[in-house]
Symmetry: C2
Subunit: 361 residues, 2 copies
Amino acid sequence: MDYILLTPGPTPLPPSVYKAMSEPILHHRTSEFGEQFSRALEDLKYVYRTKGEVLMMTASGTGAMESAVVNLLSPGDKALVHQTGAFGERFTKIARAYGLEPVVVDEVWGHAADAEKLRAALKKNPGLKAVFFQHTDTSTGVVNDLAGLAAVVREAQPDALVVVDSISGLGAEELEMDAWGLDVVITGSQKGLMAPPGLAFAALSERAWRAVEAAKLPRFYFDWRTMRRSLPNKETPYTPAVTLVAAQAEALRLIREEGIENVWKRTAALAAYTRAEVQKMGLSLFAKDPADILTAVNLPAGVDGKKLIKDIRVTEHISIAGGQLHLDGKIVRIAHMGWIKKADVDAGLKALAKRLQPTHA
Amino acid sequence: MDYILLTPGPTPLPPSVYKAMSEPILHHRTSEFGEQFSRALEDLKYVYRTKGEVLMMTASGTGAMESAVVNLLSPGDKALVHQTGAFGERFTKIARAYGLEPVVVDEVWGHAADAEKLRAALKKNPGLKAVFFQHTDTSTGVVNDLAGLAAVVREAQPDALVVVDSISGLGAEELEMDAWGLDVVITGSQKGLMAPPGLAFAALSERAWRAVEAAKLPRFYFDWRTMRRSLPNKETPYTPAVTLVAAQAEALRLIREEGIENVWKRTAALAAYTRAEVQKMGLSLFAKDPADILTAVNLPAGVDGKKLIKDIRVTEHISIAGGQLHLDGKIVRIAHMGWIKKADVDAGLKALAKRLQPTHA
């Protein structure tokens, strides 16, 4: 059965990505796999806009988040987590699971990070080892001004590492890792990168590598040092998800063919179109600082969002995401990243309109 | 290009497993995915021969090994690792990465675990929290008598948990989790389970769960408690590798259709055939206690195993594994698990014979 996926990961896959996954499976200690793997990492550097090394993990995005915490920090280290939604909170939970107590700066959901609030928190909490940000938070549909925030960190605490979760942003929303001075940027395969879920990536600056060598939190599977040592052999320390690597290599080829700036522009245009259409329907936007990766839409009072979404999925085979945590049932989220097309968004908007404006149906 | 894979993971995939992966991708918070996911876990209980719960992780097998260490142990805990090859050593390395110093019992590579040696080690080291075993070690091609070893542990230290790495064994070599009294058995998707690499599993006894609740090592992504809490909703805590779950569900359907006892018998017959053919060729077996999952073969002195394997792969498109660590270049390993057929093994043996017996070619 064919579904229209408007969910913010997994996102729909291009046909050639499906095809790449159905090629006969490769063994991971062969030159054929090595070529595919190292080509994917090279193409990721292009997408990240970095000259630094990129590492690959077989894991969900949350695994990459944990890898950032355990590879950069030591017991007793001070860190700050900037939370703009459900995914920011995850960094805090991971740090706590490892015995750390990070400083938390919370934004009202739907608002991007406020530079002045960050500056004040940095002033109040000297000696931070790292500051953790979200690029885009899929739970709220906001985008943070990473260039500006990184500059604030550099000015207030030049030694603090700038660590970014761009699991939902990379490959869809503009990001310039080196130019913006980001030290670590993690991401996942299943959103802007147009591959199935199951692979996660981390890109590191040179000073991030120095922190990794010095960090003392325990780690084995997620140890970035082991991964780096395997890179010259074009391999991973442990058996990787080879079919997903084949898929990811093909999806990155498509991104490179289109050009990353064109991908950003296309995603931004689809987001602008969706925001306009939603407002024409008389609905309001949840995010005050909306991202291009997805549009979060407030549902009218009295509408049961969970029922609405299920009805659309069951009867029309269109998957739209609802709200997370306290937003459950109150908003819907329509994604624009990757292979999602205007026709898909139109189908989703039509399904929404039919149910929210029954007299006009 | 079509390859014959005789490597012990990834192994070749059945055609219907490729097909399952190329179905339109499902969102992981839908009832459609939930049904597929919970069916796979139910079928895994059948393969594990357990009434206990089975958990799924998006990770390599090494991730599942780490999950066993961090979910069962606390700082200062005493544990014993029984090493019969390269993969046994991995448990030791993981435990050390988390600050533990396990007792290590080493067998000569190629020999299965000796019950008397284990009994002596258990006597000498009272108060063990867990004893870690390999079911089959793919680096040496041996199989351990888990039923017997578990009985030795129960007799000597009834409170010690019996933890088994059956990444390469499950679904190919006989294993009776409940009947043999195994507390934790981990495995991976890419060997006997006939799916691509990227998923790992853990099955737990009730007393293993009590240990998990009490354990104090830090964990987040690999936290079994979080995974268990998601089971009633037929979901995973974080975005799983959905295409691999589709593949795994289909592969398990095939195993159930054939019957697990028939799978064991078929694998054993292919292994017996291979051992006989190899010896007819004048070659000797490396393992003194050979497993059914693969046959490790000594190469004649003076043969460069690495060159041999590369030559076979490049010219005949047959992937045979070499030796690991100190066995590199000295042995070859021909796998029998999963979808590997007699015709594949025959092609591999012919390619070997041609190169090792040039006058008979």
